[in-house]
């Protein structure tokens, strides 16, 4: 493991992280549900690549295992599950989110700036790629904003998963060898089960409410 490969890998990771952020912003803009799911799959793929690079550079085989898990779970299984759900419920398009395109872009920009400001004191810490922490925070904040802005249940689930991607990125970036394997597996299974439970609920909501518009769920007041 010679010096230049670390140099190259950190620059590569920075590039991939920035790409992930770009995908996130695209997600905010995109209206079609199916393309949203594909964008999420792409973002998870990038995350898997980053994990692979870290594993290669530090020879930490368990991070590689995480990369493979991410690849199987988040790139293949979950998007397939969501697409099947979308086709069965036959709703294609997000009608009109709360905030229009320009406003949401502006807010995402502001949130990214905020995450850079918050992450500034920790630059000394990051070893691999100097912007992975701010990107992780940005992914978290924009993901939350996306959840608030969208009406469709599926999009909210997707937004939740992007924040989860941000969290995995932070885990890899901040800790040189990643977290202990037990924790990784625990987290991964929880995410998968969470999505399955969400799927069950979405299906039941679809049965009793004829639409997937979450803003209709406001009977419980006070």
């Amino acid at each position: 493991m010679n010096l230049p490969s670390i140099e190259i890998s950190s620059r590569l990771i920075t590039l991939l992280a920035t790409l992930m952020l770009m995908l996130q912003l695209l997600l905010v803009v995109q209206r079609m549900l199916i393309s949203n799911i594909r964008l999420f799959a792409l973002q998870s793929l990038l995350l898997a690549v980053i994990a692979a690079v870290v594993a290669y550079v530090y020879g930490a085989w368990h991070v590689l295992f995480v990369a493979v898990l991410t690849l199987l779970g988040k790139v293949i299984f979950l998007p397939w599950l969501l697409q099947r759900l979308v086709r069965r419920i036959k709703i294609e398009e997000e009608i009109h989110p709360f905030l229009g395109m320009p406003a949401s872009m502006l807010i995402c920009g502001a949130l990214t700036v905020l995450s850079y400001v918050v992450a500034r004191p920790f630059t000394s810490l990051a070893r691999l790629g100097n912007n992975t922490l701010p990107v992780a925070l940005a992914l978290l904040l924009t993901g939350l904003f996306l959840m608030i802005n969208r009406r469709k249940a599926i999009t909210q689930v997707l937004a939740l998963l992007t924040t989860e991607n941000g969290m995995m990125l932070a885990a890899i970036a901040l800790t040189t060898y990643g977290m202990p394997l037990v924790v990784e597996i625990g987290i991964f299974f929880d995410v998968v089960v969470a999505v399955m439970v969400l799927g069950i609920l979405v299906f039941r909501i679809r049965e009793s409410f004829d639409s997937m518009d979450v803003s209709k769920l406001n009977e419980l007041k006070g």
Binding site: T163, A171, L174, P180, V183, L198, L220, G222
Partner: protein, 494 residues
């Protein structure tokens, strides 16, 4: 083997219930499982006392139980046993009334032990990551419990519960990672630094201060959402009022306190690393905010179970604020308050369950009043429970609240006790007005016929109340010693 057996019993019960068919078998499994859990809990309580507060560890420090977690294990097992006892008659009536189908009841009997197991894992896990996963398990199992009935409102409550819960948990995970990252810095030379709380506590002074602050903020917002602290509490009234009564008893009685327990672990860490002020002020602020917010909602409340949910919001706020004040008396009072509240709140939800089954509504206006005439036993239990939850003398909550207030005065921040007393007064007035109108008054013509006296159900319902009265009048010395040990852990005094 003690800790693992405490964890395994509910899991085994859950698996068996998957297989079992008849309802009698399911109830027997559940009740016996939780009874054994309680016995083991008491055994753990005695062993921790015998070891003078040194932690009981198994699987190489993977499972760890110190005085605080022993107290939590006791609360979980007591509440789940009470719930299981009450659920017997509750679901018999629901099945008879066709409110719920047999498979759904079986789903309840599978998920409840899973829910209890999740909570036990949270308090016994030493590894912060595993603790997070355990909280996730409790969240997932309780979501399906909330969505047990197929009404649109319970689906809505479940959806909000899972979405807000997941957001909270993602933030909590962020906080956990930052805490872990703070440990990576100083232990660069060593291999993977252990994620165990006990090890992190030993290394606390060397941790990276800025990262620990960031981690506490994320954990506070994350686990605060699960604990129902003020601005993040919005899911609490929906989930607790739409879930079946046994589940809302467990949710309100103890699952809020599990999230507070998780928050406390990080509070102890950040206090060890940064010195108490930072996390104490935050806890105090959020606690007082929750207490202040509960009042107005109860004063204008229209639904009985939502009112009880807001009352839980207020009590959790009181516990957090008391720990935020961090005086010796207030922390002891907070722990005592957790115990008494865990015994009181389930009784109220059981009574509310009876009212719901009898009147098929929980809306004060539609029930109208005269509960004392149509449901004498439930009205009595509801009345006595309300007296207890409002912190009136014969019951222990008065003693714990006054201990907290006295602690606040003794440690010099009298204004905190003043704000607490004001919000307690507001909530008392709200609860009194609503329940007086509900229980008292002449028998209503429109009310359904008088409730047949079900001796079994009344006993099951008022068992925790009898325990509360017993422990209000006589707090055993050993229990007090355990609470002092737990208080020392929280305040980090040897």
């Amino acid at each position: 083997m003690l800790l693992t057996s405490i964890l395994l019993i509910p899991l085994v019960v859950a698996l068996l219930c998957l297989v079992a068919r008849q309802r009698i078998l399911l109830t027997a499994l559940n009740i016996s499982g939780f009874a054994i859990g309680l016995v083991l809990g008491l055994k753990l309580f005695r062993t921790v006392l015998a070891r003078e507060g040194a932690a009981v560890t198994e699987w190489g420090e993977f499972l760890r139980a110190d005085a605080l977690s022993a107290w939590m294990v006791l609360l979980i097992s007591v509440v789940s046993l009470a719930t299981a006892l009450y659920a017997v008659s509750y679901f018999r009536r629901d099945l008879a009334a066709g409110e719920v189908t047999a498979p759904r009841v079986r789903e309840f009997y599978v998920l409840t032990p899973l829910f209890a197991a999740g909570m036990l894992l949270v308090v016994l896990a030493n590894n912060l990551g595993v603790m997070w996963a355990a909280v996730e398990i409790t969240a997932l199992s309780s979501v399906l419990l909330v969505a047990l009935y197929n009404h649109t409102t319970s689906l809505e409550a479940a959806w909000k519960y899972i979405m807000l819960g997941s957001v909270g948990l993602v933030l909590a995970l962020f906080g956990t990672i930052f805490a872990y990252a703070a440990a990576v810095g100083p232990s660069a030379g060593m291999a993977l630094p252990s994620f165990n709380w006990s090890r992190l506590l030993e290394m606390a002074p060397q941790l990276d201060q800025k990262l620990v602050k960031l981690s506490f903020i994320f954990v506070l917002v994350g686990y605060g959402t699960k604990a129902g602290l003020a601005p993040m509490h919005t899911w609490l009234p929906d989930a607790h009022s739409e879930a079946p009564s046994p589940t809302s008893a467990m949710l309100s009685g103890v699952s809020l306190k599990i999230a507070v327990y998780a928050l406390l672990r990080f509070h102890i860490l950040s206090a060890a690393c940064l010195g108490g002020e930072f996390s104490q002020h935050l806890l105090l602020g959020f606690g007082l905010c929750s207490m202040a917010l509960a009042g107005p909602f109860i004063l204008t409340q229209k639904n009985l179970k939502r009112m009880l949910a807001y009352s839980s919001l207020e009590h959790v706020g009181l516990i957090c604020a008391a720990i935020g004040v961090n005086a010796p008396l207030t922390v002891l009072g907070a722990l005592l308050h957790m115990g008494y509240h865990a015994l009181t709140k389930p009784v109220l939800f059981f009574a509310a369950g009876n009212v719901q089954q009898h009147y098929h509504t929980l809306d004060f206006r539609r029930i109208g009043g005269g509960l004392a005439h149509s449901m004498p036993a439930t009205a009595l239990v509801l009345g006595v429970g309300a007296v207890a939850v409002s912190g009136l003398p014969p019951f222990g909550l008065f003693v714990s609240e006054l201990t907290i207030l006295a602690g606040g005065f003794a440690s010099g921040n009298a204004w905190v006790s003043g704000v607490m007393l004001a919000s307690l007064l507001l909530v008392f007035c709200g609860v009194l007005i609503k329940l007086a109108r509900l229980i008292l008054g002449p028998a209503r013509a429109a009310a359904p016929p008088r409730e047949p006296v079900a001796a079994g159900r009344t006993v099951a319902m008022s068992l925790p109340l009898a325990a509360l009265l017993l422990f209000s009048l006589w707090v055993p010395g050993s229990l007090l010693q355990l609470l002092e040990l737990a208080a020392n852990i929280i305040r980090r005094t040897p």
